[in-house]
Symmetry: C2
Subunit: 232 residues, 2 copies
Amino acid sequence: MPPERNRRRIPDATVSRLPVYLRILGEQADEGVDSISSERLAELAGVNAAKVRKDLSYLGSYGTRGVGYEVGYLVYQIRRELGLTHDWPVVIVGAGNLGQALAGYGGFGERGFPVAGVVDVDPAKVGTVLGGVRVRHIDELPQIVQTKRVNIGVVATPPHAAQDAAERLVAAGVTSILNFAPVVLAVPRAIEVRKVDLAVELQILSYHEQRKASLHAVPGAGAGAVSRPASA
Amino acid sequence: MPPERNRRRIPDATVSRLPVYLRILGEQADEGVDSISSERLAELAGVNAAKVRKDLSYLGSYGTRGVGYEVGYLVYQIRRELGLTHDWPVVIVGAGNLGQALAGYGGFGERGFPVAGVVDVDPAKVGTVLGGVRVRHIDELPQIVQTKRVNIGVVATPPHAAQDAAERLVAAGVTSILNFAPVVLAVPRAIEVRKVDLAVELQILSYHEQRKASLHAVPGAGAGAVSRPASA
DNA sequence: CGGGCTTTGTGAACGTGTGCACGAATGCCT
DNA sequence: AGGCATTCGTGCACACGTTCACAAAGCCCG
Ligand SMILES: NC(=O)c1ccc[n+]([C@@H]2O[C@H](COP(=O)([O-])OP(=O)(O)OC[C@H]3O[C@@H](n4cnc5c(N)ncnc54)[C@H](O)[C@@H]3O)[C@@H](O)[C@H]2O)c1
Ligand SMILES: NC(=O)c1ccc[n+]([C@@H]2O[C@H](COP(=O)([O-])OP(=O)(O)OC[C@H]3O[C@@H](n4cnc5c(N)ncnc54)[C@H](O)[C@@H]3O)[C@@H](O)[C@H]2O)c1
């Protein structure tokens, strides 16, 4: 019997890939595949095979040499490690454009993240129904979080309200936040925050586009262009 | 004239932080701040001050020792490096739940990414108007990309259609893709792809929640059944 | 039953990213 | 003018992540 239980801490980079493997393995299982090699999984996930093996090795030695991994068992182990053995209800703060799209999207419930509630400050929004859930006033947040045992909150408010939304979530007892507002949230150290910022993604793409463009550009054209800070 | 013009390659990690600095600097400028230290910028961005300085040093030596950075000038330099000196029109494929939210969101146009078009296969969607843009049939994609000089495409179709959408985008001449479908896209090497997968984000949060829960759990409980994480 | 083929699991090398610590440059004050 | 306080820019060490390469472990077949 190994002395180490779950002392193993899984590297962040690996944690962020496990969901991808999980989805692929689920698809393979649906197609009747019950054994898969690291090579094949790597191909489907768009990564290096050695990386797949190393990632999976953090879960334990669940492969069979010369054969590969048993799909069903691997799915089980990854789900277990990611804490997906039970549902994690989420609460969405902000029933605007984005909040509505999220609430109306069935994909989360399917994957174990049912929408336990949607809240908003706008009285015009309160009472409307999104994806089968009635929008409630934000003052009811603590009650929703407590009764539905919510650990994960989603911030989908305008930027200026995001910090407030986060603080309310934390006060209500939420310990993980997914933030869609383009703002850096200040929260207690114990709270896990992940940010999804579409503008940032587009700007990163812009960087690469600009880079490609400047390779084709005239190599001589240079520093003459700008010297003074013009106002933006 | 310096022999190396833009030889400097900026590390990926830095590129992904520059947009954050840029937004903060813009806000500071709006508040009338015209000089900022790495310390302060770091605080606002939620990162280490040395990291800020190192990041900015890739752009050149634009700070003044003992003083800090001139906000307006820094904004200009970052915009320049990210290729934000002109607009990058984007085309959205898929006018569903998410595509509508994206098209209706004014934030992109403001930040230099105007929606040049939205396309869909569904005849029922074609002709409707989203955020001031009429939805067009996907067959018109090449024409839109060419006439509007679109380099960046957004995939907002269901998963099973995402690869097709990506291929059409590439065929039409797009060279960067922002993918919202939970699928690994296969594209030519030269095409830049960034993925936004909300389910992955939630699963990462789930991992951390599960981890917190298992710390409070009985330390002796071994490899038996899955211990049930009670409420927090 | 042994040899050969396949594929895992992992040590080691390499590359990338982070953060400290400190010299260097600059502005301000006396 | 000189000294002092501040803040940048960066060398360096360390941590983290990726990839290669290969022995070990298993299966299959003759
Ligand atoms: N819509 C998009 O496609 C999109 C894309 C990228 C980023 N975002 C970001 O997502 C966030 C939401 O975008 P949106 O388009 O849904 O905005 P929105 O204005 O449509 O909706 C925001 C909602 O939040 C509510 N709200 C305001 N203050 C609140 C508070 N203190 N507590 C609770 N609710 C509050 C408003 O009443 C409104 O219903 C914004 O930060 C935006 O920058 C949106
Ligand atoms: N809605 C959300 O909040 C949300 C959240 C996370 C992820 N996603 C992902 O974003 C994607 C879109 O989600 P959605 O909720 O908007 O789905 P949706 O079903 O509402 O919309 C998809 C749209 O794509 C169109 N379409 C289908 N095949 C197409 C093709 N080959 N070419 C062009 N258009 C095509 C459909 O006609 C439809 O209008 C999905 O992959 C989903 O998993 C959505």
